[in-house]
């Protein structure tokens, strides 16, 4: 197991290097410089700034400088917020994003699994159709529509919850629901299919033939096996939630990473773009590794294939 993870870490580093390089050159293709959208600056001031941040150097030189700093753990400083390091900014912004992502994932997963399991066990009944209608709605209605409707009805008309900002638990409820809807729907649909598949397996008949109660058959033999593929979709979903909340962060004015990411692209704040992208990449790579390790824990057949 240790050797397996060791090997994976090496390939993760390679992946990371490739992502860092690609992002760097792609970013250089963005039109404009970080400073030309600030009308108050004169031409010479812009030149001065470019000189200061090394933007006049040839791109390969900039690349080497950046990568060297990166290995020292230095992500640079923001061009827009003078002198503040990228690490500090990400550190400040990650809190609300992570909280929101985690809470939505938790709620979405719990409800998704429940809906999926109920739909499968009550296959072809009213409960099944009901759950799947909810699931289809959850997938097809974009989160910003749900967010907008909630803000209008729940927030403004009924005044039950705050419409925006990030100042306490009640501020998290509406954004969480807006994000969790799609998570619930995706997981519910997956879980239903997997449950139906597993329920048709021979070993379920074996379990029934042992005289186990239907509850025991479902809990011990069905749900565990049906949830294995769910782990696969959970990985990318975790990252998508971290990044994908950016629309919701904008709508509810949440000071999260996604909101910062969007604004940094608008203003050509290169270090922030790089820093955030790399941060998301690391997150993604690590989550994939975690998923693979989890897979091995849940499914003994893979444990063997991975080697000891």
């Amino acid at each position: 197991m240790g050797r397996y993870i060791g090997g994976r870490v090496v390939s993760m580093l390679v992946t990371f290097l490739i992502i860092a390089s690609l992002t760097f050159f792609l970013m250089k293709l963005l039109p404009g410089t970080p400073f030309n959208n600030q009308e108050k600056m004169s031409e010479s001031q812009i030149q001065q700034m470019n000189e200061k941040y090394g933007l006049n150097d040839p791109v390969p030189v900039q690349y080497v400088t950046y990568m060297t700093n990166l290995f020292k753990g230095d992500l640079g400083v923001s061009f827009q917020q003078d002198g503040r390091s990228v690490t500090t900014i990400i550190g400040e912004r990650i809190g609300p994003s992570a909280y929101l992502g985690f809470q939505s994932l938790l709620i979405g997963t719990i409800f998704g699994l429940l809906l999926g399991i109920i739909a499968a066990l009550k296959h072809n009944t009213f409960l099944d159709y009901g759950s799947m209608i909810i699931a289809v709605l959850g997938i097809s209605i974009p989160s910003f529509v749900i967010a907008g409707m909630m803000q209008y009805w729940v927030g403004v008309k009924w005044g039950m919850l705050p419409v925006a900002y990030w100042e306490g638990f009640e501020y998290t409820i509406m954004p969480t629901i807006a994000i969790a809807a799609a998570v619930t729907a995706t997981i519910a649909r997956f879980m239903r299919t997997e449950m139906l598949e597993v329920l048709g397996q021979d070993y379920i008949t074996t379990a029934k033939a042992k005289g186990l109660t239907s509850t025991a058959v479902v809990i011990k033999h069905t749900i565990r096996n049906a949830s294995i593929p769910i782990i696969t979709i959970m990985g990318p979903m975790v990252v998508a939630l971290m990044t994908g909340t950016l629309v919701i962060e904008q709508i509810f004015v949440i000071p999260g990473l996604g909101e910062k990411f969007v604004s940094s692209i608008m203003t050509n704040d290169f270090p922030i773009i790089m820093g955030t992208t790399l941060f998301f990449s690391i997150l993604f790579i690590v989550v994939i590794l975690v998923v693979d390790v989890l897979y091995g824990i849940v499914d003994p057949r893979i444990r063997l294939a991975g080697g000891k």
């Binding site: 397996q201 021979d202 070993y203 008949t205 074996t206 379990a207 029934k208 033939a209 042992k210 005289g211 186990l212 109660t213 239907s214 025991a216 011990k220 033999h221 565990r224 096996n225 294995i228 849940v298 499914d299 003994p300 057949r301 063997l304």
Partner: protein, 356 residues
């Protein structure tokens, strides 16, 4: 002999979009203590459905037991509640399935899968159940049971998995073991080992076995009595000798004739023409008539009753009626019947000795 199971006039139907499929249409059979009853027939003849009905494992919907009784220990299994059935399944009646590659849960150790039944029916503690599971693995001939008990199914070969499945079925010393084609998915050498094992265990534990198969070679090897099923009915039943050496039903002739054997090498195998009838709309009269070269006019009009040949031997064919013309069974079958009269052809009998 003591009858421990009696199935009376069992009808099982499945409601499908195409209509009601009458999979089992009036099956009568009984099982005596310690004996092995083989149910043979081609795919779709209703043998598996009959066994699932006995276990109460017909999925409902779409399946249902329409009428009939399944008497076990003075109670009718067909009318029992799910809860009562659960207490019988796995403890009094258990089942072995066809494909050992899929009938074990891949994410649970074999030990746990054996223990489940023990904990449920015999209320053993986990440690007791585990040591019993090790004993059972040893009993079914799995080497190193102490380490094997905590391994997963994928670490076992097909034959070994089937042994595990047998261990699960035998965990609570059931009175009846239903084996639904337990050797079909295994290769021939392993088949022989599993049959040997089942015979040994039956001797040790006194279990009665219902053995479902389409392989007549296996039947000769393991069964005491045979019931031949066709289109949801039993068409002929008798002891192994009666079925093999004095078959009366043309369908049994067909089955025996299509079985390759060493002493009939010069003859061609006889295939039964056509295919089984559509059971959404079973034919009037004898369901086998359209494929039966010996069919008479009455076969298309009226279902034949069971004619008695001996106390243990019955067949449902009009050919046995006193007014029926005398027909000659196919050459290969006649040879068999002659063998019965003089000396039996060499064949391994139940105790493994050769008589000939």
């Amino acid at each position: 002999m003591e009858k421990i199971l009696e199935v009376k006039d069992l009808h099982v139907s499945f409601d499908t979009f195409g209509g009601e499929v009458k999979a089992v249409r009036g099956v009568n059979l009984h099982l005596e203590k310690g004996e092995t009853l083989a149910i043979v027939g081609e795919s779709g003849s209703g043998k598996s459905v009959t066994s699932k009905a006995i276990m109460g494992l017909i999925p409902n919907p779409p399946g249902r037991i329409k009428e009939g009784e399944i008497l076990f220990g003075g109670k009718d299994l067909a009318k029992m509640s799910e809860k009562e059935l659960q207490s019988i399944r796995g403890s009094e009646i258990s089942m072995i399935f066809q494909d050992p590659m899929t009938s074990l849960n891949p994410t649970m150790t074999v030990g746990k899968q054996i223990m489940e039944g023990l904990i449920k029916h015999q209320r053993l503690s986990k440690t007791e159940a585990k040591s019993r599971a090790i004993e059972l693995l040893k009993l079914v001939g799995i080497p190193n049971p102490d380490t094997r008990v905590s391994q997963y199914p994928h670490q076992f070969s097909g034959g070994m998995r089937q042994r595990v499945v047998i261990a699960i079925a035998l965990a609570c010393n059931p009175r009846i073991l239903i084996a639904d084609e337990p050797t079909t998915a295994l290769d021939v050498t392993i088949q022989a080992q599993i049959l040997e094992l089942l015979r040994d265990l039956q001797e040790k534990m006194g279990t009665s076995i219902i053995f479902i198969t389409h392989d007549l070679g296996v039947v000769a090897n393991i069964a005491d009595r045979v019931a031949v099923m066709y289109a949801g009915k039993i068409v002929e039943t008798g002891t192994v000798d009666e079925i093999f050496y004095n078959p009366q039903h043309p369908y049994t002739w067909g089955l025996l004739g299509s079985m390759p054997s060493l002493d009939t090498s010069e003859e061609e195998l006889i295939a039964i023409p056509g295919s089984p009838p559509d059971l959404t709309d079973p034919p009037k009269g004898d369901a086998f008539a359209p494929r039966n070269p010996y069919a008479m006019k009455i076969d298309t009009e009226l279902e034949p009753p069971l004619f008695k040949i001996s106390d243990t031997h019955y067949a449902a064919t009009w050919l046995l009626h006193e007014k029926a013309p005398k027909v000659e069974p196919p050459e290969a079958i006649k040879k068999r019947m002659k063998g019965m009269a003089s000396s039996k052809p060499t064949m391994v009998t139940k105790d493994g000795e050769r008589n000939g």
